[in-house]
Each structure stands twice: as C-alpha cells, then as structure tokens.
Amino acid sequence: MFRQATLEERRKYYREEWEVKEVPDFILDSIENREFGFDHFGRGPNDRYKVFTEPDYLKRFMKSKTPFAAYCSVAYYEKPRKRAGWMKSELVFDVDAKDIPVRTCSCSNVCETCLGEAKEIVSRLIDTIKGDLGLKNIHLVYSGRGYHIRILDKDVMKMDSDVRSQVLKYLVGADIPKDMYDDGVAVYKLEHFSIPFGYPRVFTERIKYAILHLTPDSKLDNVNQKLMEDVLKHRKLLEDDEWGLFKNRIGPIRYKKVVSGIASLNMGLVDAKVTIDLKRILRLPSTLHSKVSMKCIEVKNIETFDPFKEAVPEFVQDR
C-alpha cells in the first residue's frame, strides 16, 4: 500500500473521489483567512501564499491541478496572500509514526504496528489535553503517516511559541518533576510515581508507556546495554504499577539515569517544530498523501478509527 501514487492515480483521486465538502468545517469556516500551499511535483510545498475566498474556488483548483500534496495554514491572517496581519493560530501537535522515539516494530518507514502505537500515544495526549488542560475544541486528523492534533479553543489560539513549548513539554513529559517538596515546616522527598495528580502523574504515565515499549535495540542517553537489559528484565513490574519494586531492582542511581534518558526521549514524541511554529502549513484533510497513497482525513472517533479501512483511496483498492 505505502507506495507513491502515480500521476494517473492522483488525477483519478481528485476527479472521481475527492469532494470539497470533505474538507472539515473548521477549515472551510475560516477559508478566507488561511494560507494554502501546494506541492505539485513531490519536492515539497513550494507553491505557497494561495488564497481561496470560498470552497468552490478550492474545488476548481484541486480538480484541475491534482497536486501531489495540499496544505493549509494553522494561522489565520488578515491578509493571507501576504501572510500578513497574523490573527491567531491553532495549537498543533504532530505525531509522526515514523519518528516515534520508541516503537516496537523495526520497519523503515511506517507499518500497521507503529501507526497503532502512534494512535495510542495520540489518545493519551488527548486525555491530558482534555483532563488537565480542559481544552475542548480538539480535531484529530490522520495525516497519512501519523496524526495531527489541532486545537481551536479561543484561549490557546493567541498564545505565543514560548507558551506552546511549555504546553508541549507538559503533555509529553519532557521535564523531570522535582522530588523535594516543602510545606514551610519540613522538606519531604517524594518520587513522581507516588504523586497521583498534576504533572508528576502525567510524567509517570509517559515514562511507563516508554519503558513498556522499549526494545533491546532502543538507545537512551547515559544508559548502557547492561542497564537496558535490566530495565527490560524488570519492566513487567510496571504493568501493575509496582514502581517502588522496579526502582529497587534497578537501583536508585541507575533508575535516575533511566528516567532522565526517557524524559529527553519524550521530547521526540511530538515534532516540536510544528507546535512552536505559528505560521506552519499542515496537510489539508481530505487530500491525498501521494507518497504513501493514503488519504489525510479527520478522525471522528479515535477508538474505532482504522486507517487501513477509512484512509485508503479507491484507486489503491483497484491496484
């Protein structure tokens, strides 16, 4: 399936299968404020600064140009043709299956396993986005090789890159929580796994996911092969949240090394550049990811979503 679409296939897709109403409403509703970009030859999006004041114009363009890839901005502009008058941007998290730092498959591009793992990670991120951050206007898009979480809550769309980067680090568990706490009377040492709320809880969940998905080939900063073997040997304890036992088996100093190695690895769960860039363009849902011959589409229900059923264009089935 994951082979590049031919020019003929692209034409077939856009002329027979694609319809402009499949572009999600959250984009169509603001179409006149967004910048569109296209890749016509498979060498990256270099036809940018395009504007469509209404869906019909976009439809005509797509049907006639049948681009290799189509993108639209996460930013809203007063003058999108000049990328000027920035108004606000969606808050975006990009999880690309091919770049997940720990994945149990060893495929060179993407496969069913790593796409499944990407989905699991996305689902955990969304839980935290809703439960901790209380954000509600969340759209999930299958990008063809991973997922885009696109958030349109009013309060977050005006935030600058620095706030976005803090949110990102919170969600992926990139900072090691402190372990000394004081109440003004005495100081207490508390491990992240013994704190069932706030950031330490998020961090514990992320660390647990990573440890349970490590493979003997995984590489962590400052973790040698012997330590990695021991982590793999004892990690079953974490399935039952036996953190204290796990830490004892590994040893406290070595445990620290593992935790700090995973914290920096977690930074790679999401492509940070996409989150902090306020003027990014993202693949336009409903369009074709020609490199892998899959559709980029909005996911309505993450629980039941199966890219191999819902994101496969007809021409692939006919191949």
Partner: protein, 441 residues
C-alpha cells in the same frame, strides 16, 4: 493589619496612597525627616553607619537597587543594613520610590532593556522576601495573599490560560501547577474532592500543603505583580514619546545605570546566572565550542539545515567572536560597534558559516541561495545580499538561541556533555565562555 500595598505597589490602594502623597519631583533629593525617623525606629535596622540610612526618596530608590545587587553578588551581604526594606512602616515611601524607579527605567531604557529586567526581577525578590520576613503568623499571611489575589484576579476559579503571559515569560511553569479540567487548583476542598481518593498512604491535606498550600498562590501573585510591573514600565515608555521627561527622573535613571554597572560583572540574564568572569573578544577557539555547535559546523546531513546554519550558527559565531558577554551587558550593540570595518565579520565569521553551509547535504546555498540574505539579516544588516554598513540596523543582530530552543528546533544537535549539564544547559554561548575562561586560568 499589613497594608496590601506593601506587597503589591500596583494595587488600587497603593495608587491611592501615592496620589495622596503628592510628591514634588523637584524635591525628591531633599532630606526627609519623617522617613529618616521611621527608619531609625526599626529595631532590626543597623544604624551604626549613616550611609546605611536613606535620607530621601531618591536615596530610597538607589538603596532598593543596592540591596538587590548586594544580595546577588556579595557573599557577606548584611541583612540588617537593609532591614528597613522589609518593614511595613515604610510602605508609603517605598511606593513612591517604586514609581520613581519604574518611571526612570521606562522613560530612559524601555521595557526590553536590561535595567527593566533587573527592576522586574528585583520587585519579585522584594515581594518574596517581604512575605518571608514579615514573620507573620500563617493565617495573617494567608489572608494577605487572599486579598491580593482577589484584587489581581477577578473570578473565583482561575484557568491556566489566564497565566499565558507568565508562562511565556517563564515567570511560572505549567508543571508547577496542579490542573484539573483547565483550572488551577488552589482550594483545599477542591483538591481533596478531585484527588483525595487517589492518594494512598498519605493524608490528602498534607499533600495539598506540599503541592499547593499558600505557596502556589504566593507564587502566582508574585509573578503577576512582576508582569504588571513590566507592563507599567512599558506604558511609561510609550508615553515617553509624547511627554518631555522630567530632568530629575533622568538623573535618577543615570544613577540606576551606575549602581547596576557594579553588577554587570556578575549578571547573566533574567532567568539565570551565567558563567562569571570576563573574557575579551578574541579569535574563535573551535575546540571550546559546545557539542551542538561542533555538530552544526560539520554540516547537517538531513532536515533542519536552515535552522542550524542561519538561526544557530550565525548568531552563535558572531557573538562568540565579538560580544561573548552579550547576556550580561548591553544587548543593543551593533556588529559595527565592535568590528568597525566588518573585517572580522567578513574574514573570520562568515567563512565559518559558509563552510558549514557547504558541508550540509545537499549544500545549503545550492538550492536555497536566499539563505545567504537571511544570514545577513540575522547579523543585523537587513535583507540584502551584501553585508553593507549602510544597511546595518534594518534588522536586529540575533542573540544566540538558548539550549531549550536548540532542543526544540534541532533535537538531533543537542548531545549535552558534562560541561553542558554543569552549566544547566542554558545557552551554548555560556559553554564557550566557560571553556575560554578555564583556559585563561
């Protein structure tokens, strides 16, 4: 009762007090007997030397700064010399001094200056120390915090998004807050309702005190007042264009510079203390470069070429060569202030950048020749293909990005070694300064 204005100089109560004071700016250097008497009456105050006692408003302004400079840089800092700063008795005078200081900094230096950064940080430290040193009993302190908080934030529940200014300026970190459904949990009952059952082997009340208690509330009010101070300086600065500044205020501004020049040797940046000790601009020592720069110099093999060359290397190499102490000194310098005829820039700095760009695969300028213009822009010479003195100032000379930004933008370049870790991975430039300094010692 402790006046709210002792902690929050921007509260309505404080503004009212300052208005009633009707201070005549022409007379802020006149000896003020009431102030002097008050300070002599403070028990913990060291009165052995008259020089310790501020004699007028202007003196008080300077003493505030001196306290901050001494506390940061003098290991023999004597608290009793500055005890008056922590006694609510001086509230009225302190408020006037605060406003004079903000106006001096706002009018002369503006919100993005080093002076403004110091002042905002100084205000944060003063509040923190006042709360600590007031030695109030717990309830009084909590009541004070509650009152100030009520004035600062109108609604009873606070969404984390309200604090985005503070988060963006790193005055507060998202991971320091306990969040539930978008709200910051500050109230004990709410905390127990949400997490009480999850907490095993410990008392939920105790966990509340450890994680939230009054501490988070105090943190939020301190940071909000810091942010409001910054906003106030900015508003003063905006007015500077339409109002002729008072000469007395400008005189104070000069004195501010003088006091801070003592600190310049030590000052790192608003967030951190950088490496101490001075090094002079000198030819670049590649072996002293941090790991990320070494990788970038050898060319980037895939993805992130542009960022590594234009955003990381160009600012790093130019500052490391010409103004390594940029974060401790004047950030408004231009390249030509340090390299008059641009000889160093053209003969030493640009060749290194171009060489690294050439080593990228594919070579950066082959398919993106416009990146040369971008490099010139990042050095402050506008969007032009030639580095020309007449275009200087059209863009700003980009300061080297922080380690955090490197990690975000180019995670593959960040391979921290022991020195990176020791310097807390703040800025690649600090690594270079440290390396050069050790070489000199």
């Amino acid at each position: 009762m402790i006046p709210m204005s002792f902690i929050n100089p921007l509260s309505d109560e404080a503004k009212q007090i300052v208005r009633e004071e009707k201070v005549d700016l022409q007379r802020i250097y006149d000896e003020n007997d009431i102030l002097i008497d008050r300070i002599y009456s403070i028990k913990s105050q060291d009165t052995s030397d008259d020089a310790f006692i501020p004699r007028n408003y202007a003196d008080l302004v300077i003493k505030r700064l001196e306290w901050y400079v001494e506390k940061r840089s003098n290991s023999n800092y004597n608290y009793r010399k500055f005890a008056f700063l922590f006694d609510p008795e001086i509230t009225k005078f302190d408020l006037v001094a605060f406003y004079i200081l903000c106006q001096a900094v706002g009018l002369k230096f503006g919100p993005n200056s080093r002076e403004s950064r110091v002042l905002v940080e100084l205000q944060g430290h003063i509040i923190e120390n006042r709360l600590k040193e007031l030695n109030l009993n717990r309830e009084v302190r909590e009541e004070l915090t509650r009152r100030i908080m009520n004035e600062l934030i109108v609604q009873d529940r606070i969404k984390w998004t309200v604090l985005s200014d503070l988060l963006g300026s790193k005055k507060i970190y998202l991971h320091d807050l306990v969040l539930k459904d978008g709200y910051i949990i500050l109230d004990k009952e709410v905390f127990i309702k949400h997490f009480g059952e999850e907490i095993k082997h410990r008392q939920p009340e105790k966990m509340y005190n450890l994680f939230i208690g009054n501490r988070v509330k105090e943190l939020i009010i301190i940071k909000m007042i810091m942010q409001n101070t910054e906003n106030y300086i900015e508003s003063v600065h905006e007015k500077a264009n339409i109002i002729e500044p008072n000469p007395t205020i400008l005189k104070i501004a000069d004195e501010v510079t003088e006091v801070l020049s003592k600190e310049i040797k030590y000052y790192g940046s608003s967030q951190c203390s950088g490496p101490r000790g001075q090094i002079k601009p000198s030819p670049l020592s590649v072996d002293k470069f941090p790991p990320c720069i070494k990788v970038a110099l050898n060319g980037i093999k895939s993805g992130g070429r542009n960022e590594a060359i234009v955003l990381l290397l160009a600012p790093f190499l130019s500052y490391a060569r010409l103004n390594p102490h940029v974060f401790g000194s004047n950030t408004s310098l231009k390249i030509s202030d340090l390299d008059k005829d641009l000889k160093i820039t053209k003969n030493e700095i640009l060749p290194m950048i171009y060489d690294a760009a050439d080593k990228c695969s594919p070579p950066l300028f082959d398919d993106q020749p416009q990146e040369k213009v971008n490099i010139n822009a990042k050095l402050g010479f506008g969007m032009h293909s030639e580095l020309n003195l007449q275009h200087e100032g059209e863009t700003t000379w980009y300061t080297p990005m922080s380690c955090e930004k490197v990690k975000m933008n180019m995670p593959s370049l960040c391979k921290p070694d022991d020195l990176c870790k020791r310097l807390k991975e703040i800025n690649p430039l600090f690594y270079y300064i440290e390396g050069i300094k050790n070489n000199l010692e």
